[in-house]
Amino acid sequence: MEASKICRAEENITYFVGTDLISEAWNACQNAYKSRDFYKIEYKNVLIIAFSGAPNSRDYVTDNDFDECDINYNLNDEFNCLVDGDSENPKPAMVRKAFLDRFLCTLRSSNLKAKILEVQKDIVEKKTIIFTGHSFGGAIASLWTLWTLEKRHKIPPLCITFGCPLVGDKIFAKAIEREKWSHYFCHIVSRNDIVPRICFSPFKSPFISKALDELLPYWYDSMRNRKAENQTKVENQSKVENQKTVQDGSHPLSKENSQEFIKQVISDASQVLTHETTALVVGPANLVGGAAKDLIKRSPYRPFGYYVFCSTSGSVCCIENTETALHMLYFALENSKLFGACIMEHIEYDKTIKHISKSSGLTASYSKTVKSDKSSADDVRIDLQLEAMGIGNQNTQAWLGLKTIEENKNKLAINIDQQIVKLDEMQEFMAELEWYKTMCEGNQSNQDKDLNANKQSYYECFKTNKTENDMKANKNRVKLAAFWDRITELVEKEELPKDLQTQDKWINAGTEYRLLVEPLDIAHYYRLGKHEDSGSYIARGRPRRYKLLQKWLDDKKKKSGTESVTRSKPPILTQNSCFWAYVEEAINSSTDKEPKDYKMQLENMVARHEISSEDLSSSTITNWQNSLSSKAG
């Protein structure tokens, strides 16, 4: 566990600094302000694509409070894995519509798409693409990165943003974490910059819209002009910087307005933060926050990817956990309340980048200033992070907030360790059931070699249940069900790591279990006559565990994108674990029309070699087909 606590975000930033990529990206961002949509430059073996952060009237004219919309709105499911929930009830990730529209605009109108696909296909050159952007441009860069990542080429793109606002909601952030894409996103945030927090507030609210009306053009103009300065006076950079510090507070917003503006953002951010913290500790149920959740509107947006915070004093703090990032976004702002700096720092990333280059991005270098009288490594790390952020570990609330996150992470780690041990124990029961299957099918074929019609699959054996072996198989079935039910429950309560369902180990174990054991569950269901009580197995009786496990596999297939190779031989296990439920329904159905449909389905499955030969030659099927053909005949 301790080993995993080495911060990958730090390695990332060290790499970026070491290769000058950050300053190159920043230069590209500034150039992008002059071009219409984006600016493209090749640097060594890297293609840098920078998006302009120019404001757009659409940016803060919103339909609903937070301007959120389905990420696949207006798209053909381009963002496949950014959907949560099950197939009947999908929960798509939500993103800010303004950003998505701008992304769509560049996707459709420009030749960028073709260019990217071309670069990605070029395996010889092995070029890396870096998307970058300042301010709102960062949001577009993030979406482009995501779109490219979805294509899953060999060389994944990277994304560096400067003062980028929040783009997507919790499902969005969770999906990125689940797909292990977090480290492709590096958000550089100047400690007091207001823009990364701006999406916590509804743009409609008067303080916000008034402030944005003035600030957006101001930021845009100064970025454009800055560019000119930069080109001519690269050598005099320090001088320019001095000038800027003098400039502090010269933004167009009056003092009162900027105070109201920042306070509003702080208050809205605290809504999000306290909601997340309480949900983490008490769970969503049985508390005031839970009951009132629909009554209170709060921003859906959450941080995603890695964050690099940089304070004016030059300290740098790298954060890879999105929940921690949320805390930092709030507490850094709340702690300082430098209203001028909040607005000015948005256009002063020159300085920030210099600090990052100097510090080489290591939080740990501040260890001297922290008194480590705390016992655990977690506590020391929290102290370090708070120190680096300039919040200080005396801020008990911030400290407790971060501690909550650590504890929760530890809990997940312990949970998964325990379940892995149990999964191994379960293999024994699986083995017994496999043996049971072989026994059933083997016995039958030996005894009734001549009577082909009387062959029995293990499904039928189990359903008729005559022997002690069947009893044993039933016990194993129940034990396995208990284990997988527990896993399902933990996954639904989010008490297992998010990437569990993308790990091959778990997908394979789950699929194996589902294919072998679900027929037994179906047999049990129909044997007890439960279909008469509550309806067909597929509609009413299928346990949640199977639905979840099937979804894991489907998701994986969807991602791999390539068409699965068609089988040429029947498999050992029927690939459609609900096969027997279809058969039962077909046999039970009394209307004339339906059997034909079922027959079609069955024939399709046979044609695709999805059904094991044992199942196919079993007596139930043969009898049924005979009866069908006799009817037809």
């Binding site: 208050s267 009132a292 527990r486």
Partner: protein
Amino acid sequence: MDLDWPNPPKFSVGQELATLIATCGILPKAWEAIFSFSKNEDDSFLLEKDEDVVYVIFPSFRNEDFIASDSKYGECNINNQKIFSAGLKGDVDKPALVHKGALNRFLHILENPDFKAKMQELKEQNIIFVGHSIGGAVAALATIWFLEKRLRNSNSFCITFGAPLFGNATLQEAIGREDWLGRFCHVVCKYDIVPRMYLAPYESIANSLDAIVPHWRSKMSTECIDVSHLSMSEACINILNNVVKCTSTIANNYPGVRSPYVPIGTYMFCSTHGAACFEDSEAVLKLLHFSVQGQEGIPFDQIAGTCISEHTDYGHMLEGIDEALLNARQFANLVSNSSFEIGIALELEAIGVGAQDNHVFLALKKAGEAKNEKDMNIEKLNVQLSTNQSFLAQLEWHKMNCKDKNSCSYDSFKQQVEKKDFYVNLARTKLGGFWDEIVDMEEKHVLPSDFRTRNKWINAGTTYRRLVEPLDIAFHYRTDKENKSYLSDEVRPHRHIVLEKWMKEKEQTRSGRERRGRTNFASLTQDSCFWAHLEEARKALMSLQQGKDINASLEVCVEFETYVKSIITDKSISIEVFLDQSSFMIWWQQYSQIQLQSPQWRSNSPLYDFMANEGCKKKV
């Protein structure tokens, strides 16, 4: 999580909750609405729409609301009120009590046809009931009334300002059982006298109230009432004195007569330093006492004055609360290493009760630990439930095997013909032990308060009862020497009685939905006591055959016939009962032989037709 290891609570989030509620903008809106509404003489209610939330506002108070002198604390029984369901009212020896003044006011509003009509319109919306002072108690009652309608698409919530305590422990338990406690949020100024005043007997505060209420009214409305300053301050000191006397008895757990009222819902205490939320009822009672204990240096009469003035001063308090909450609390020296205890200390600091005040601190700590223990217990039970499924599966299996052999699992187990029945008995005992433990834990209140209304457990319990109780009955009649009926309360295991009660309670709350009539016979007989009824009928038949107690025995048999007919009609009986070998069929054959002699029976018998024709066909 390792379930066997004691796992102390890790965090306490009272302050975060307070921040969540205080900064979301609902409170100022609600207070504004109350304040402007209270100026009018209108004493009914007001609806105000704000985006997609509807505020239902109840006015602060009228003089007469406080007056309820016919009982010691102004409480009254709700047993006769049709507007509340039976589940809320509690048992005869522990009836639910509410404050009479608030109840009367609410009843008065309910009589207003306009109110009911408007609530009907609102049933698919987000509703916040708000009220100040007695109006807060009215709002709480209205919320309970509305929640009991169990409308699926609505979301209701209750916010009160300076509301008095309005209900007793029975009411609190009933609300907790439905998991509604989180829907009540009572905002309380630290010194406000009203939330604690009904902890004192009504008589001891009545005189002072007479002087103070006009003062409050003048503050809340435009009308000017002259209140002599002198009598006011005397009244203030008087009322505070009397109230503190009572709260200190309660807070220190001294013996004595206690007020029936307990806090129901979440309390948000506010001070100039910040705010914090508390959910535990006992801890809130303690806080109600300790939060008026002033800091040193503040004279008592000044506190008394504050106690009165804060009651009408919520607007002012709300203005400062955002700021106070958002300012980071910084603790110079942390009181302990545990983040849970630090959390509690922060909460107490926020409401200006010194963390050194051990009583409150310990009460909160205990509450947090108890809650944590409840959560751990239910986790443990979850795991145990899944292991116990294997016994249940074994019994299901057994049942099917018996059916294949043309007999009921009940009879097979009773006769104990096979060795297998030994294992069945083992599974039966194990499951019995498991459910005994659950019932025991629930009765000891170490499970979450809404445990017995959770679908998962109701369903698991019902399946268990239907499958296993017949075996328990068989066991009883096989071993019973004293000829006792299983159906008497001392014989039937407590777990089955309780589980059945839970299921029935739950079904009552589901009554809003139309229940589908069955089209097929159930796979398990729905009345788990069917076999006990049969055994009693068999006893009666025996004595009938022997010619003893003919009339009484005949009556039992006829009654049983009617009973069976009724469960056949609603198809809640399992067909396995009609298998050839079942003791029901044997009983029927013998019984009908006796009865066939009387032609009158033939035409009147509820069962005869069914058994003669249809019943036989239905057999598998």
